[in-house]
Subunit: 341 residues, 6 copies
């Protein structure tokens, strides 16, 4: 395979700490040729730090110049996912986009349609799919250990985890709060367990009491006066085959644990908890609990970047693809709609 | 106050072990005069055991005879709550009825209406209201410790707790399964925390996979071939003031714990877990967890019988009254309707 | 099936508390007709207590009289197992004998041979076979979960459990100490897992330091001056197919736990610990530990008596039979021989 | 004392990380003058890294040249311990040899004999002797706290610890598997507790099922196709004074713990567990358990190197000496012989 | 020895449940002949229940009549210990008196003096002395394990343990509160460890805030309006040999534990905690913690009654004797004096 | 505010690791201009390391020269606190002095008086006041959660924590042992909770058994032969308003924990434990325990230096001021006096 040329769009923490190191570690498959950031100096500095040849402050110049890539990795704020993805696809690039896919169902659908037309890969960095725990749950599901899965409780909850930095509480930039930023991760896993169906019934509620009231911050101090998004979201999704998901996401909630990021999966032959992974089933007519004491931490960003590159090379891959992203975003939009927020 | 005369209808375990002992312990307020059971010998035996003067196998005879009561306690199967309650009210008796109120929203409404017309107390034996934990949560709510409560997770879950006795899996007698038998208890508590509003949106799913498949029983062995009710029910209730409840009830579910009977209450000033009772709030700008190490077990049947008698005597009481029972039953019906079961 | 007539020989605790209650609970299959004890009054008293028709102080009279049985249950001291079993078989009775089978390999072989000749069941009350944990290990072994089992650690250890009553420290009556009284139970389970092969190599050591020195007793106070048996025995058994057992038994040992009664089973596909039952294997290429949180205590005496009766009726049964008893006793003898004790 | 000159033979990890740092830390007693490795560049690189004057690829040149040492430290593969030790002794050097002593009983005996003839110290790097826990057990034994020790369980077990690097699974280079690599460490400690007697009876079994089947590796991934050694070894050793050792060693075993490296020591006055160190005895006629909460980790390689140097200087030392090494190797050989491997 | 005749004075719970059963169990040494209670019927009923020949409501009649005893056991309220003990001694009886000895130092001294004059045993029922833990600490002290003991923390603390029955909060009857009722028990143990010296310096403080404020009761509900005694007492006692005791006693204190009844003993060779018994010392130059996992509960009332009878028979006994009681009461008086209460 | 000039007196660990880093971090308020140490080279080296302009070995030269400061931070041995503080005040400097204030009550009083005369701030580095736990206890006290505090147990105990370095066991330099070095920290906190009253009654005992006997050291090895101070001190302090403190401090004590640094605070409405912070009170008529799971570690030296600077700038501050230091030292002197040491 020829080495693919990659451009990074967005010069923040996630480019610097997640995507660039993963891509660098895959030097036999890709080469980062360009970095593009609204602030030229930031682009320049990152390029120097990581020895990237070209730095731009306008993507259009990049596509027109020497640093023209085969692949574009979008690490910008949520509201820029859509324009940069469209531009990249129109420039015949594969696109690896940070989550959430976009700000609206319409944007995500349009992105997926254009990728299909262009015959390019558009995929999303929902990297929890690569945790060894999720891989093993899926394997167990495929081998029938769980039977048919019919209900999932999906939680991404923080007690006081409103980030005190970035744009996380700004609705026009982020498009939403706890659901948009956290909930999509765990919802993606739950949907994978149900073959990424589209639910036919959704009821949801969102809240912003704690975010607007202020309080002790465990991830820095946030400003309650500029808090515009939901701090908590609770939804029930019902699917055409009568499966269901109970989804809970929060930046802030008066709960005991500092955080609770988990799936409870209920199937006809067995159930599972995602982390630490445990299975609950019957063995020899007795109720059995199964633990996996030696699961090792994995570099899930690296594994997800590999999954994306595999997709670009036409290989089978478990990356979150354009169609899945469109479904995910459509569900998010319907949840907000149901909640009236 | 004069001593009120009480008749028991239904001669099963719940009459023998719960209601009769509680009433006997309140001998300064009530006297059990009659017991009525379809099987005359059963009525006779219980009457002898508890020194109750009159035993009947037809309620009509009781109302016509010496054993005529002021209060009727209904301990029959679910499908007989409605006819016996109507009959008792028409005979100008107060009625203390086992849960669930009835088989349908219509029945429960009609019962409430007749009680109102007759000026009699109709109340339901939802005795978890009398646990000291729930009493204390309510007190904390009233004192503002929890602020406005906006979301509640209400669980009454068993891993393999399909009863191997009685009619629990017979739909025409019971009217339903896990929701009807277990879920109503915890839903009643959740509704109390939200002032017993009627939700305006409900989505629900019910299942019967495990009940119909059979397996290891932790409450005796059930017969999967005659299993007609739901073994699990998951619902989301949204209220006009944007509060919400996430309700889960199961007879059988592939989960870790043997059972999980709990409320998680989320309010603007604090949260609470029902059992063991804990509160989560801020004190002096620090996150605080509050435990109550010396809560003592209470005789909740006795306390609920007292609450019923207080209501009969016109005193303030936290008994589940006729209107609440009608709302509860209406929600149950809507959940089943939404689930298509 | 006709009701079988049973005689009890030996009037001690084990007859009164274990065998008679189990037999009584099986009144649809057996009837206890006689009890025989060296001390006539003891026989009489037990007969009265349990409403047994005939009491004897000489077994010969029993066989000659009205109380003549179909089945004889031997609950005497170890040294009388052999003579009473021979006598019972010669009187054409099935024999259910307490463990250990006898005092020597020769006795046990002779007993087995006579049973074969007479076409009668001779079986031993090694009731740990009936624990649900052992049943489940065997089922897992049969289903291949454990693969081929090649090494077993079998422990029946007590820190200070020399019984302060009975004849447990008297060599001529008991035939031995910790191995004879405790070790045979766990060795029987280990041998079952290896298809009751006869080992071809044995090395063993026995000790009596603590028994002869005296000390704090956790099962009453024993007399060090009359301590004649081994307080600890350690042996390694190697089998023709290269399987092996490491056996440890003690009445007294300077260890941490008060007792340690366990099997560790090592197989090619998985390992197991007997109590609390756990399995150790690989699932989905990850190391997995499996627990069984809802195993219920069983009445193992009742189950073992049923297994014996099934054998008498010609049904398949997992009772310790005459041949197994002979092998077990032969191993015990070879262990003592190897240890020079 | 004059500073002794040291040569290192073998340029692998154990030289680089263990022996050289320990010797460097003892610069007032020794000076590393030479390093010798089959691969010249490796020798050169290590010499540079540690500032060692001379590097050789042939030991003979070293003995003939400037880098001629007083002491030789052998850090090669097991199969080269014997030739290099013989050569060093013939060159009148003290020898500090990695474990195991050699590939066979004959080799180790010959090495010990030559050392005796030459009047030189030959010792083995069995450094677990220097752990503070073992030091304290020995002190307790000497003070009589344990009384006479009569049985020891010695375990060096790993669940899935077949090293995925080096020659650990190559029989001709290593001479054996779990026993040779791991078992000798814990066996050495057990023998020390019994005054390094030679057992008069040994029965043993070895296995290679898991090694040859492959599976999840916790110390890298091994190749089952080239697995030639035992993955598990179980043995019983009986000594002329009737003491006994039950020895278990494994690279891979279907057990719960990831590893179990321990001694259980049973004496007439008390017992001990090696790690974390606990004693079990009687105090004031009550059973007592003694823990040592403040035992600090020690640099056991440094302490063992000091013990070796003390021996070279004629001081009392607890180093594993040539005679002990010969006994240890003889037992290893007899275990393999008994196991038919 | 002849059987001694015993009279019980006081017909409350402590006579009925503690003293009479213990004396009954010692029927080979004593016989209860009389019981004396202010209320004749109470005396009569107890006599009937326990088959005691004579019942009186006036002690004088007892001494004059048939029921004249050799031993008097005083189980009355605290304020009657003194008059009944004096009367009993004057009637030449041995006296076994409940704790505390009396209401004042003067009373207790006078009682001791009269006993000495009369040559009779006067002893107090401070039965914690008979716990196996205290027996073992004393043995360790005697064997030197603890060295010289120089400081003791003695706690008898309850969080909310003001008894809701009896006269515990009435100062004229009880003579005091937490110190008088609870503290004397643990102070007695501490004094025993220091050879029952009289301290030469005492500073103390007492409080009654919680008792007078009311609150949640864990031993019934007390009446804060009639609360006259101290609910907490803290004192430091310094002895002529520079030993010291820090004493804390409470009926009610805002602490975490429900109760804390313990001694911490600090000696030159080791320290000890009373319950669960642990020792802290050095073994082999390492810090060691010693636990006693098999200490069994003892019937401390029975053992203390035996100790009293041994004293009556002139045997060595560890009963709290008249002189010790006088010292104990003198310290109590000095503590109250220091606290100004 | 102008930048204040600071001089450090004393060049040891506490200057280098605690004070200088804190002052450096406050570069917008202070500038370290001079460092003064008895050993010129030490002063020079520290000055170089921290880029401090001037280094002196005589403080007088400093006051006379270019390095003349506004603030003097005294980090010397205890016996030099007094002379350097007097000298600094006479040179019109604010003084931030390490604890303990001085060697005697007289010194500390004189220091406070001179500071008052000079109108300068004299304060002590008792930095435990700045822990978030203590801050929160004080806030709770102020808000009435604890009510009136009437008894405090204040412990600063180490099992074997006699420092093996420095002058900690030299009485003429340190002025005392465990009380002077450790006890003052926890006593300061306790006094703060009682508004820094002067007690009117004190009884105390001090000991040096372990220090003089030697033993296992957990903070290095100390020399028992030169051990001149108390290794343990126990005292009871009673205040004019009947509050009381029970104080315990030790370098070495035969206790279980390695160390115990804590306050138990008992108030009329609630109690508190300092670390980890817990409150014990009643909520809704039930006993409640409150924990604070998210208290974060603070840089207490930095916070205390800020508190000192605030005081210098005339702001409200919770620094330990000159008057409090004089009271603290007076109590220490009275404790030693009472103990006769």
């Amino acid at each position: 395979m020829p080495i693919l040329k990659v451009a990074i769009i967005g010069g923040g923490h996630i480019a610097d700490q997640n995507h660039i190191p993963a891509l660098k570690a895959l030097g036999d498959r890709v080469e980062i040729v360009s970095i593009c950031s609204r602030v030229k100096e930031k682009a320049r500095a990152l390029a120097d730090k990581h020895q990237i040849p070209f730095a731009y402050d306008k993507a259009a110049e990049m596509y027109a110049g020497e640093g023209r890539p085969d692949i574009v990795v979008i690490c910008t704020a949520n509201n820029l996912h859509y324009p940069f993805a469209i531009q990249a696809l129109e420039n015949d690039c594969h696109v690896f986009c940070e989550k959430p896919p976009a700000l609206s169902a319409e944007q995500a659908s349009e992105m997926a349609e254009l990728a299909r037309e262009k015959g390019k890969i558009l995929a999303y960095n929902l990297q929890l799919r690569q945790t060894p725990e999720f891989t093993l749950i899926k394997k167990c599901r495929e081998e029938g250990t769980l039977g048919r899965i019919y209900h999932i409780k999906a939680n991404y909850l923080r007690r006081r985890g409103i980030p005190g930095w970035g744009n996380f509480t700004n609705k026009s930039i982020q498009g939403g709060g706890a659901l948009m930023d956290l909930g999509v991760h765990i919802l993606d896993l739950a949907l994978e367990m149900l073959d990424y169906q589209m639910p036919d019934r959704i009821v949801a509620n969102t809240y912003d009491f704690l975010g607007k009231a202020g309080g002790k911050g465990l991830m820095g101090e946030w400003n309650p006066d500029s808090f515009e998004v939901e701090d908590a979201c609770f939804a029930h999704l019902s699917f055409p085959d009568n499966s269901s998901i109970s989804l809970s996401a929060s930046f802030a909630l008066n709960m005991k644990a500092e955080k609770d990021i988990n799936l409870e999966v209920f199937g006809t032959n067995g159930g599972a908890v995602y982390k630490p992974l445990s299975l609950f089933t019957e063995i020899g007519s007795e109720l059995a609990n199964i633990d996996f004491p030696h699961i090792e931490e994995a570099d899930i960003q690296l594994k997800n970047t590999i999954a994306f590159l595999d997709a670009c090379e036409g290989k089978h891959s478990n990356i979150a693809n354009a169609e899945q992203g469109a479904i995910l975003q459509k569900i998010v939009s319907k949840i907000y709609e149901s909640a009236g927020s």
